[in-house]
């Protein structure tokens, strides 16, 4: 009788433990795969090749005269060098044919696009290194995979408000609403 009771006790906990562990594994391992869709950039842009040409980040990602950040370069900038096909890379041909010649801007996927209700000033954060917030892409030959959150529509790398607040707090910067929400 005593042995039977002990077995019942073990059997009673086991389903709970199995369920618990299975849920933890599913939540941490499988859920992200379900939550995010994987997408590739429309053009396989090689930061590495451009850096080897002696270009710097600011050559394409520059500030405008009024201090606002231009973000990604547009066709006008790219066509300074790529109005015609340079080299034999198939993506080079794709860019020239589909975008440069048609005047259509490349729909780049932006890893850290913020919502409209956030005003992020790159000028105010100029003293930080790009990689403090952005993916380290300068040596990549193929852009990182873009993970889009199926629910929110934003990128996996989009910085959340708590991250902004923590950095502000650590650096003694105000966390008042109006600092980011105009």
């Amino acid at each position: 009788m005593e042995e039977k009771k002990q077995c019942k006790g073990c059997g009673g906990a086991l389903p709970f433990v199995v369920g618990f562990v299975a849920a933890v594994i599913a939540g941490w391992v499988l859920f992200p795969g379900v939550l995010y869709s994987k997408q590739n950039q429309p053009i396989r842009f090689s930061h590495k090749v451009h850096q080897e040409q002696g270009m710097e980040c600011a050559s394409c990602h520059s500030f405008r005269e009024d201090g606002s950040y231009a973000g990604l370069p547009n066709n006008e900038k790219c066509m300074e060098c790529h109005a015609d096909v340079v080299g034999s890379d198939p993506d080079e041909l794709k860019y020239v044919e589909q975008y440069a010649k048609t005047g259509k801007e490349v729909p780049w996927l932006i890893y850290q696009s913020q919502p409209d209700n956030v005003l992020f000033s790159h000028k105010a954060h100029e003293s930080f290194e790009c990689k403090s917030c952005h993916l380290e892409v300068e040596k990549t030959d193929t852009p990182p995979v873009y993970y889009e959150n199926r629910l929110s529509g934003y990128s996996k790398q989009t910085m959340k408000m708590w991250q902004c607040e923590r950095c502000h707090a650590e650096n003694g910067v105000s966390n008042a609403c109006h600092v980011c929400h105009k």
Partner: protein
């Protein structure tokens, strides 16, 4: 060992508990909250570079040199352009709303053909242009069968349209009414040739007879800047401004003095001043001075009081101030920018001649005839008026088969509007080149959408009122129009090519380039917001005594009231409905709910038997206008002041169906001596209703 019910429940509970230690619930809640901020109907910000690009905004009649603020290439605001010597950074209330008007729901989205009463069908440009060529082919070489009405006073487009009409064998090029048409004819009566100008900036005493110069007359922003310059902050005014007109309007309200002059009394008032000035010793070397003096002598202060309602002491005080001023200037104009006669212009303008204030700094000038971009074009001095043309259509004297309407809205903005609209209906094929679905476009058989000023090349030669020959030009601000539109001149030039009418240009941009070259202006400087000006003067003037001999005090009918339409530039123009943003400044004594409000003073209201807030009908001929009464002492005796710009039957939800259209009760008569059509002295009967 199997999984019994209890075991399954434990498994599920374990699963739920485990889930709490994963991001599944917490991240999902966070993501759902973010998702809820992104409903598809919430507008998204357009991100990109903020730029400021010079443009010529011809939404107002004079045209404003503006800077268009764009974000990522899309306009979102318009501000003044400090580089422009005329506006000096100012902008009129219509052009200030230029960006909003570019996205207006009233814009014609694509070419359309009429398929039934009030029904249109969108068609392709190639089909629309083919239809235009087909209709024009049928009238080629037949005098009187093609007519063009233009509402653009300053653009080289008029050169192209008039030259095209001539090339088609027609002389039917007509302009919508305005000060320019009347004043140019007035200058002719005074022995001159050209368009008059008025140097407000250089004057120290400005008497505006009728001309609403600080709100809606002439180059309004330049006028306002000149006025403002005489009022330094904390300092004494360096010039005096007096407004003489039937209504205490915006110009009168900021002037040093308002003199209430009845709508029909402007000429008598001006000649009364001339009489007092001559009595005070004023002489002129003009050849007709003796005749003028004899004529003016008839306009004693007592006669002026009877004809214009101005008391003798007010007239004498004003004459003394004119005489004492070092640089007096008299601006002649109709109180609502149209409808007055050339003789009325002469009467007021002759004071400048009498005071020796013609072609001098701070005086009245006569601008030399502007060069034309096309040799076959009709000059401004020879343009015919659209009102007379449509009257001729009504009586069968004119029988056009094709009418092209460019930047004009004759179905709304001509006197006796109801009858004019009927006349339009008599024309078999009407083409409207219009940016917006206005009342005329709504009657057209073919609508060819024109670009908004930020989407097109355009120019402005001598906007009415400028003291010096002036030329402005602009180029597109945006890469692509928001509507499927084409420049009307480009369309016309293409049609001309197919019809075998040689005009020598392929695009409007080429025409403007040629015009700038003919003027001697640098086009790049102009399109950057600059202005070309010159000191060219157009010769001397007489006093116009022969024409003024026709002036006779109007016989007052005690059963009627004189109509004084009241303009406010913010409310748009004949060819542009009130911009939605400006509806916010419509006062309760202009529009109450959807009722138009007309004003009259207490004595007039008492005589008419109406009281504050009463509903009335104003009737003239077959035209009737419904309104409410506001008793206000800012209106001359025997006069009813009626706001202009309301009563739209087309356009958009913001302007349609609000108030009534004053043009319906303006009646046309022939001016004695000139035969010009005038309607500044329109009268109405008032009945409760």
């Amino acid at each position: 060992m199997g999984l019994d019910r209890r075991g399954f429940v434990k498994f599920v509970v374990g699963g739920v508990a485990g889930t709490l230690f994963t991001p599944v619930i917490w991240q999902s809640l966070d993501d759902v909250s973010i998702w809820s901020q992104n409903w598809p109907w919430i507008p998204r910000l357009n991100k990109g570079e903020v730029k400021s690009t010079a443009a010529l905004s011809k939404l107002c009649p004079a045209g404003c040199a503006v800077k268009v603020k764009t974000l990522g290439g899309l306009p979102y605001a318009a501000i003044g352009n400090t580089a422009n010597p005329m506006s000096k950074g100012g902008v009129c209330p219509v052009c200030a709303g230029g960006a909003q008007l570019m996205y207006s729901p009233a814009r014609v989205a694509s070419p359309m053909k009429k398929v039934g009463e009030g029904k249109f069908e969108a068609i392709k440009w190639e089909d629309a242009e083919a239809m235009l060529v087909e209709k024009l082919t049928a009238v080629k070489g037949q005098e009187g069968k093609l007519a063009v009405i233009s509402g653009d006073e300053t653009g080289s487009a008029n050169d192209v349209f008039s030259a095209f009409a001539a090339g088609m064998g027609s002389t039917g090029f007509y302009m919508m009414p305005g000060e320019m048409l009347t004043a140019t004819k007035g200058v002719k009566l005074m022995g001159g040739n050209g368009q008059p100008g008025f140097d407000i900036a250089g004057a120290d005493f400005v008497l505006m007879i009728g001309a609403d110069a600080l709100d809606s007359w002439g180059a309004t922003v330049a006028n306002q800047k000149a006025f403002a310059a005489t009022r330094p902050t904390g300092g004494a005014a360096t010039a005096q401004f007096v407004y003489a007109g039937p209504v205490l309007n915006n110009t009168a309200s900021v002037s040093d003095k308002w003199v209430a002059v009845t709508p029909t009394g402007a000429s008598a008032f001006a000649l009364g001043l001339a009489n007092l000035l001559i009595a005070a010793g004023a002489v002129s070397s003009a050849p007709d001075f003796a005749d003028y003096k004899a004529l003016a002598a008839k306009f004693t202060p007592e006669a002026v009081e009877a004809a214009a309602g101005v008391k003798a002491e007010v007239l004498k005080d004003l004459a003394a101030k004119l005489k004492a001023a070092k640089a007096p200037l008299v601006i002649a104009g109709a109180s609502f920018g149209q409808g007055a006669g050339a003789v009325d212009f002469c009467a007021a303008a002759s004071l400048n001649v009498l005071l020796g204030r013609v072609n001098v700094t701070g005086g009245m000038t006569v601008l030399p005839t502007a060069p034309k971009a096309l040799a076959a074009a009709i000059g401004r001095e020879s343009a015919l008026d659209a009102g007379s043309f449509l009257s001729a259509v009504a009586t069968g004297k004119a029988t056009p088969a094709v009418l092209m309407v460019y930047e004009a809205n004759p179905a709304f903005a001509l006197p006796q509007a109801g009858e004019m609209a009927k006349s339009l209906g008599n024309i078999a094929f009407k083409v409207s080149f219009s940016t917006y679905m206005d009342e005329t476009a709504a009657m057209a058989d073919l609508i060819l959408p024109a670009p908004h000023p930020y989407e097109r090349f355009d120019d402005a030669m001598n906007p009415y009122g400028v003291a010096k020959p002036t030329y402005l030009a602009g180029k597109p601000v945006v890469k692509k129009p928001v509507a499927d539109c084409k420049d009307p001149v480009d369309v016309l030039l293409a049609a001309a090519g197919k019809l075998g009418v040689s005009l020598g240009f392929e695009t409007y941009a080429d025409v403007i380039k040629a015009k700038a070259s003919a003027v001697g202006a640098d086009l790049d400087t102009l399109t950057a917001g600059g202005a070309w000006t010159s000191d060219g003067k157009g010769g001397n003037l007489s006093l116009g005594a022969a024409a003024l001999a026709k002036v006779a005090p109007a016989a007052a009918d005690p059963k009627t009231l004189a109509v004084a339409p009241v303009t406010r530039q913010a409310f748009g123009s004949g060819s542009l409905a009130t911009p939605p943003a400006n509806l916010l400044i419509v006062r309760e004594d202009e529009l109450t709910g959807k009722d138009l409000v007309v004003r009259m003073n207490a004595a007039t209201a008492k005589a008419a038997g109406v009281t504050q807030g009463a509903k009335v009908k104003l009737t003239a001929g077959s035209g009737e206008l419904k309104a409410r009464i506001s008793v206000n002492e800012g209106v001359a005796a025997g006069t009813v002041a009626v706001p202009m710009g309301f009563g739209r039957s087309a356009w958009d939800e913001f302007t349609k169906g609000k108030g009534d259209n004053v043009y319906k009760i303006l009646t046309v008569s022939d001016e004695a001596g000139t035969g010009l059509k005038v309607w500044a002295g329109s009268t109405v009967t008032v009945a409760k209703g």
